[in-house]
């Protein structure tokens, strides 16, 4: 089952990179096998960053949690 803890565990791996660069990623909700997240800080407004972080985080989540389905960037 996809739990908040497991998702946070994966986010925590990427988070240090983001925080050191003046940004962060916030886990808003876990719905079934999907999760909603929000980017904050430096990279929040940049379309390139959205692509990088969206794909990077989703890949990480799917690798760690095989049943994980979709990451929704709000």
């Amino acid at each position: 089952m996809v739990t908040r803890e497991r998702v946070e565990g994966v986010l925590n791996r990427i988070r240090p990179f983001m925080q050191a660069d003046g940004g962060d990623i916030e886990l808003l909700d876990v719905k079934g096998n999907s999760a909603d997240v929000k980017l904050t800080g430096m990279c929040a407004g940049c379309p390139s960053a959205h692509m990088t972080l969206y794909l990077g985080v989703e890949t990480a989540l799917r690798e760690e949690i095989p049943e994980f389905e979709n990451l929704c960037l709000l």
Binding site: R13, F17, A20, D21, C46, S48, A49, T52, L55, G56
Partner: protein
Amino acid sequence: MIPAPVSMDSVVIGKSARMRAVFEFLRVIANSDSTVLITGESGTGKEVTATLIHQQSRRKHRPFVAVSCALFSETLIESELFGHERGAFTGAIKDRPGRFELADGGTIFLDDIDDVPIGMQVKLLRVLQNRTIERLGGTRTVPVNVRVLAGSKKDLKQMVADGKFREDLYYRLNVLPLTLPPLRERREDIPLLMDHFLERYFRKTGEDVPQTSDVVKQAFMRYDWPGNVRELENACERIAQTCTCGTVRIGCMSPHILFRASTRSADPAIVETAAPSEAAPIALDDRLRALESNLIAWALKVSHGNKSRAAELLQIKRSTLGDRIARCGLARAHTSEEREPELATES
């Protein structure tokens, strides 16, 4: 076919001991006419090095012909390298010189020599030994004055041992062996290469080169670069194309690199957990302590030395973390010297 003049500085970059050894060797063989076998993984710069060898040689004003042996089937490669006469095969409507003839007086670079089919290897060996070629379907023997450079992704010696490469051809090629190290074995060159390529690609877009955040530099240092310098070059091109905010931050990087770099941070611990392959005794307590110490060190690094945050990462109590740090003797190590590039931005 004649490349633009190049200098050592502009094509091959590196300050690492491994690259300095390569440069020294290139200097030594500059005036030689002997065959060079350049071995290196994909993207380590075999063709760049071949170009450089040619540019430094007495043949620099003569043609440099590079050909990838992986591109052709067995019959095609023969016609490519040695040429053919009109009517040699269906579609051979006129005489065509091969790459060896085109390179006459100059240098030929046979890249992907490890992909040459075994049947073709014997023909190549004959050419290298006699320095003459015969066009496909022709009867005339043409002498060629060509310096041969060969490139290989794989260790040819191993291929010989496996029966996939002719031993005689291997010895014929391996006169001056040159091995290009993979980028992950000369990580200290990564910042230099990064600056070089970022500069090149930002100049191309007509912009000034922006600052690069430390996190991006550290992610680049951590990533394993399976595609070597070529991959790093592409990563820099991507950054130059996508960076919109005036500073290169992690958002501009490829998601793949960010993700892989983030998994690498706990790597020392992963290595430690590997079980020995033989039935050798291991001290379990020592191994566990090493693992614990590695993971705590990692948590302290990524949390910039903030112990509460590190404790959160490890999902243990703050007070427990304090005890464990003391037990592992990390307190001193952590405050003094860092063992590997790390995330905290001290500057």
